[in-house]
């Protein structure tokens, strides 16, 4: 669900750049080494669909050392502007000893504190960290910040088994089914919901005890939630963070079309507003008003498409 303010905010960011940093850590075993590298490659490939304004840097295998990771984050800090977006995605194994979270890389591991101080130097109000490692829930208290979206594969540092969340997160970027509002853009919230549901489904269908429970925090809360929604106040910022979006729409060629586009935006905003009022309305009245707005929107879109 979108909030009107955020929709307008996104619209105003049409020319901002997107930066993605992908790090694939140590696998420990050949099976995991191969899997993590493959996931990193797949993720990079999926993000390339964003076009030339999207800057992607990947560190994998021997190159994914602590020093290289922190240097990469420093480089990003030097390049980004306040209206740019930045996402860091960590794939691999993590550990938590009760005090410190460590992302396992060749040589000295990267701690949650290392990441926090590097990320704090990156400008921009739109920052996303996806820590898809085991024990990643332990980073939430360290990385959570009011203007940062933090997604973890596990709910705490005590979920220590190797995770599969990353696999479904990557799937989300490639699968149109993840685009639940059908606007052509996969937001961080849509990707989270898709990956979280698919991960849960995997454990359920295999009759396995779930050893990971993904969390999201985008309000600065250090606990995160499994089911971000307006009722718990989580997910608004993630809904506005585009991970994959279609090529820029052609601008209106004439005033008539521009008027229709404006009308369309107004109708979308009215629908969003109505949906937020749903709980307080009689169902029949809600349905009547929604039907009318959706029909107007459909007619407007048909006119635009003509």
């Amino acid at each position: 669900m979108r909030a009107l303010a955020l929709v307008l905010w996104m619209a105003g960011l049409a020319h901002a750049a997107s930066y993605f940093a992908i790090v694939s850590g140590l696998g420990g075993e050949p099976e995991y080494e191969g899997q993590f590298k493959r996931w990193a490659t797949d993720l990079e490939q999926a993000l390339k669909a964003n076009g030339p304004d999207c800057h992607i840097e990947t560190l994998a295998g021997a190159a994914a050392t602590r020093q290289n990771i922190l240097e990469m984050l420093n480089r990003v800090a030097g390049q980004t502007r306040s209206d740019d977006s930045f996402a860091l995605i960590l794939i691999g194994h993590g550990t938590y000893d009760g005090t410190d979270y460590k992302f396992n890389v060749p040589g000295r591991d990267v701690t949650a504190s290392d990441l926090a101080s590097a990320l704090n130097h990156i400008a921009g109000q739109r920052q996303l960290v996806v820590d898809a490692t085991s024990a990643s829930g332990a980073v939430l208290p360290v990385l959570a910040k009011a203007d940062r979206i933090v997604v973890t594969a596990t709910k705490s540092g005590t979920e220590k088994n190797a995770t599969i969340f990353a696999r479904y997160w990557i799937d989300a970027l490639r699968n149109p089914a993840a685009d639940s509002d059908k606007n052509g853009t996969i937001s961080a919230l849509e990707a989270f919901r898709y990956a979280e549901a698919k991960t849960a489904e995997y454990f359920k269908s295999e009759k396995l005890i779930a050893t990971e429970h993904a969390m999201l925090s985008d309000t600065g809360s250090k606990e995160g939630v499994r089911d971000p929604k307006p009722e718990n106040g989580q997910g608004m910022r993630a809904a506005a963070f585009a991970l994959v979006r279609p090529p820029s729409q052609a601008k209106a060629s004439n005033q008539g079309t521009q008027n229709l586009l404006t009308k369309k935006e107004e109708l979308e905003a009215a629908i969003d507003k109505l949906k937020y009022q749903k709980a307080a309305m009689p169902p029949d009245e809600y349905k009547r008003q929604l039907s009318a707005l959706l029909l107007q929107l459909a007619r407007t879109q048909a006119e635009i498409d003509q």
Binding site: D181, K182, S205, L297, A298
Partner: protein, 742 residues
């Protein structure tokens, strides 16, 4: 679980020296140790309960911890009895008896593991102590373990006068359906003690099973002990294991009428009431049993299941009543109801009969809840469904990992039991009931039924198939771990053989003969004019023709497949193909994990050889392969290669195995839609929504367009609005809304 098996205290009192005869009951008393205990037991044996209680109460004041333990036990004060046994265990006197009696206490109080440890401890103290062997026999008998017979015989070899061991042998023989042996052993017990109540209970049970309700034995029993309800409970047990549940319930009632404090009988009554669907009565009996201190796993778990029934919906359908868990009722109902209807129609036509009432089909998403229904019944290994008269209980597909259960074939199998049990008034041996049900599974759907698994191959190779006259024990008291599975396969093949050689009419005739209470030998003679021996000979020869190639080349096949998997793991795909192709047809029925079909298909897909992959997966499906991923791959290949009808058929079969898969319903719905079957497409798209897909906009839209095609415009409009509510800019849904608004 039958209380008879824990009722061992009289039997274990042989302690050594002198024997006396009390009214025909031989009591072997030790010189002094524990003498009063036996006095109390004699009173108990004769049903003099008040006096027995007084006697046991007096024991609790004894300076000897063993006596105190026995006293508390007699008063049903189990914790205190346990404490006193522990104290007695520390002492040095007659440790074999102390440990055995303590073990029997554990056996009575639902801890067979600890009981076995104590019986073994007793044998360490005295390797010749017969009652300890008898204790081991009783513990084994609880789980239908065939070692029970060996332990009982060992007990007799140590003490030929231990009549309770003969009673147990009689009990075990009757469980195996061997009436003659049961009578012989019971008479043997009676020759030692004319007051052997349980021997008489076995003989009475034989009369009752043979429809002689006025058995002379019950009169003799009641003369010894006028409140010996255990005799009726024994009869009830045999009715139940012969699937005559209603009579079992009746006899448990008689047992309780004589002695309302038989808590184990009351628990069994509750369990069996639950089995036949009398939930309210079951709850009352089980709660009373629980309140009476009888809190074994069956009682507690059954009460828990009854409590969980509030989460179930009872849904009347055209040929029965479905009891489905609310969380999956909407998803399963259309599929399960359709299969139930189909199964009923098939058997109604085939067996020329109508059922006396609707079939009640209970589907449990929690395997443990289903298992509660089977506790205490023989042949439990790997059960997925069970039939009690008109009631069928089964696992839901969600209770098992994908591929473990084909729910449709389970219904076909269990509904067959409903018909055969009804037609024969439950007088049908297990081998024929199971065999016919397995036969009927594959009679209409060739890829159903039981496969020639490696366990079966092994049994055939080592000549472990049983003669038809002994096949019953393959179900009841398996000799090796996989024997129940092997027996299902064999029984199914026996019926296949009969149908093929003598026709379906012979099978129908056999049902009628069993209904007329004829034994297996007479049934074979009457319907196919074969002696059991010639029937067995002909069957083995017939089976050999079908399986000889696999049996002969099994080792070669195994070696080849191991090498193929090793090559594949090393990345040598061409080598893996060569090896797997070389041995695949030596064992064509192998469709379990790591099958040649799946290995080959996987490599061929990687190599872009779709036709070869398709050919292997089609064989995999036809031979009963159940791996959902492989079948989904097959459907994709069929669709990609221009065979949408085949893809449709494959996906329908996947639904029989795992209806919880969102993508399968999406694809199936789309194919049904393209095939022009809007009604079927609606069902599939509804299933998608019941499974709460992540893409709700697409799912509501899919359902909307199928409803629109079915000219259900109002419903289509509701669905398209739901789609657009989730995704207001979803163009296909917008276009459909415009169409619907014209």
């Amino acid at each position: 679980m039958n209380r008879w098996l824990t009722r061992a205290r009289r039997a274990s009192k042989a302690g050594g020296a002198a024997g006396v005869l009390l009214g025909g009951l031989t009591i072997i008393l030790p010189n002094c140790y524990g003498a009063q205990v036996d006095d109390c037991r004699v009173l108990q044996h004769h049903g003099k309960q008040a006096q027995a209680q007084k006697c046991f109460a007096s024991l609790t004041g004894s300076p000897d911890p063993f006596d105190r333990a026995m006293g508390y036990w007699g008063l049903h004060r189990y914790d205190q009895a346990n404490e006193q046994f522990r104290a007695a265990y520390q002492g040095s006197r007659n440790q074999a008896r102390t440990r055995t009696e303590w073990g029997l206490l554990f056996l009575e109080r639902f801890n067979a593991g600890e009981a076995v440890n104590l019986f073994n401890d007793a044998l360490e103290a005295d390797p010749k102590y017969a009652p300890a062997y008898l204790g081991l026999a009783r513990a084994s008998a609880k789980t239908f373990d065939e070692k029970a017979v060996g332990f009982a015989k060992e007990a007799i070899s140590r003490d030929p006068k231990l009549y309770a061991a003969y009673e147990l042998l009689a009990f075990l023989a009757l469980e195996d359906g061997n009436t003659e042996e049961a009578m012989k052993q019971a008479q043997q017990a009676l020759s030692i003690s004319s007051e052997a109540l349980d021997a008489m209970s076995i003989l009475a049970s034989i009369d009752w099973l043979n429809d002689k309700p006025n058995s002379e034995w019950i009169d003799r029993i009641l003369k010894v002990n006028p409140v010996y309800g255990e005799a009726y409970a024994t009869g009830a047990h045999f009715f139940v294991i012969n699937r005559r549940y209603e009579e079992g319930i009746d006899y448990y009632g008689k047992a309780l009428a004589l002695n309302p404090n038989l808590w184990d009988a009351r628990s069994e009554l509750g369990l069996n009431l639950l089995r036949v669907g009398q939930v309210a009565r079951a709850k009352t009996e089980l709660e009373q049993s629980y309140q009476g201190g009888y809190r074994n796993a069956e009682t507690v778990n059954s009460l828990r299941v009854i409590d969980s029934l509030k989460n179930y919906q009872t849904i009347p359908v055209s040929r029965g009543v479905l009891v489905l868990n609310s969380k999956e009722a909407k998803l399963l109902q259309p599929y399960v109801a359709a299969e139930l209807e189909k199964s009923v129609a098939i058997y109604e036509r085939k067996y020329h009969m109508k059922l006396p009432g609707p079939v009640r089909l209970e589907v449990y998403p929690n395997h443990e809840d289903f298992i509660v229904r089977t506790l205490g019944l023989p042949g439990q290994g790997g059960l997925l469904g069970v039939t009690f008269g008109l009631v069928v209980a089964m696992d839901s597909p969600s209770a098992q990992a994908p591929g473990q259960l084909n729910w449709a074939t389970t219904i076909r199998h269990e509904v067959n039991h409903v018909y055969v049990l009804t037609a024969t008034h439950h007088r049908v041996p297990r081998w024929f009931a199971e065999g016919l049900a397995v036969h009927e599974e594959s009679a209409t759907e060739p890829e159903w039924g039981h496969r020639l698994t490696p366990d079966v191959v092994d049994a055939i190779r080592h000549k472990r198939l049983l003669p038809v006259m002994e096949l019953e024990r393959g179900f009841v008291r398996p000799h090796y771990p996989s024997q129940v599975v092997v027996s299902y396969y064999q029984a199914g093949k026996l019926c296949d053989y009969i149908a093929q050689k003598w026709g379906d009419a012979a099978l129908l005739g056999m049902i009628q003969s069993f209904a007329a209470k004829k034994p297996t030998a007479a049934v074979l003679d009457e319907n196919i004019h074969q002696s059991p021996e010639s029937f067995d000979k002909g069957f083995i020869s017939w089976l050999d023709q079908q399986t000889a190639k696999t049996i002969e080349h099994f080792d070669e096949w195994k070696k080849g497949m191991d090498a193929a998997h090793t090559a594949l793991a090393a990345g040598k795909k061409d080598e893996a193909v060569r090896l797997a192709s070389g041995v695949r047809d030596l064992y064509p029925e192998y469709v379990q994990g790591g099958s040649a079909y799946e290995l080959l298909a996987g490599v061929y897909v990687d190599q872009g050889k779709k036709a070869e992959a398709l050919a292997n997966l089609e064989l995999y499906r036809e031979r009963g392969g159940r791996n959902v991923g492989s079948l989904r791959k097959l459907a994709d290949l069929e669709k990609e290669t221009g065979k949408p009808d085949k893809a449709l058929d494959t996906l329908r079969k996947v639904n029989w195995i795992y209806p919880e898969d969102v993508e399968v319903h999406q694809k199936l719905g789309e194919l049904e839609f393209q095939h022009g079957d809007a009604k079927a497409a609606i069902q599939e798209f509804q299933s998608v929504l019941f499974l709460q897909p992540s893409d709700t906009a697409q799912s509501h839209y899919d359902l909307a367009r199928a409803l629109f095609a079915a000219q259900r415009a109002d419903e289509a409009r509701d669905e398209v609005l739901l789609s657009l509510e989730a995704a207001p800019d979803f163009k296909p849904a917008q276009q459909l809304l415009l169409k619907l608004s014209k």
